[in-house]
């Protein structure tokens, strides 16, 4: 590629990608990010813990279900 073609390519690239204007954020995004992070940390509700405990107890008292569970999982 010659120098003239290179310059032409640079010119075309600059025309295709104009410089950004008003690049500053309109508002602070960090509080919304913190709110979202705190929302995601809710964890398991109590009824899911009850179900998990029930399933664990069932497997503990009837280990014969383990092969059947493995077959279907």
């Amino acid at each position: 590629m010659s120098d003239r073609e290179m310059e032409e390519m640079k010119k075309l690239a600059k025309e295709a990608l104009p410089p950004m204007r008003d690049a500053e954020l309109a508002r602070d995004l960090w509080p919304a990010m913190l709110e979202r992070l705190s929302t995601q940390r809710r964890g398991m509700p109590w009824w899911d813990w009850v179900l998990l405990a029930g399933a664990s107890a069932g497997i503990w008292f009837a280990p014969g279900v383990i092969p059947a569970l493995l077959y279907h999982l």
Binding site: A62, G64, L69, L70, H72
Partner: protein
């Protein structure tokens, strides 16, 4: 990132059983060939190897395609999958002339509720996590 949502739903669905299959296959192989378990598991291993992961993928695809927009809980939908897989597994075993150990029928009243609970929790938390990570939740 927003292309091919159904492909991503399928991949998110098959990820859990496919990874878990490694543990299942290891346990079955050790039981069968190390401890000489007298049950020819290899005759029906096609069900957990092929049918179950694909069923998970298709189940998640159906959820994303039809139920997610209606805010149907993923855990409840995934928890219903054993209601198809249990009869399916039984059917495959019968078609392949696999002698089901009698103890398997005795544990059904306990095993089915446990399977429903395990599926509910796995789908709610693990598949839900993967769906969120892949941008389809």
């Amino acid at each position: 990132m927003y292309k091919h949502p159904y492909l991503r739903a399928y991949l998110a669905g098959i990820a859990i059983p496919t990874a878990f299959l490694l543990a299942i296959m290891t346990a079955y192989t050790i039981d069968r060939y190390v401890y000489d378990m007298p049950v020819p598991i290899e005759r029906v291993i096609v069900f957990p190897m092929a049918a179950v992961p694909n069923a998970w993928g298709l189940w998640n695809l159906i959820f994303v395609a039809f139920l997610q927009k209606r805010h149907f809980p993923l855990g409840l939908f995934g928890g219903a999958l054993p209601l198809l897989l249990v009869p399916g597994g039984y059917l495959v075993a019968r078609l392949l002339n696999f002698t089901i150990p009698p103890v398997a029928f005795q544990v059904v009243p306990i095993g089915l509720p446990i399977a429903l609970i395990v599926y509910y929790l796995v789908w709610k938390y693990f598949v839900g996590f993967l769906n969120a990570e892949l941008g389809i939740a």
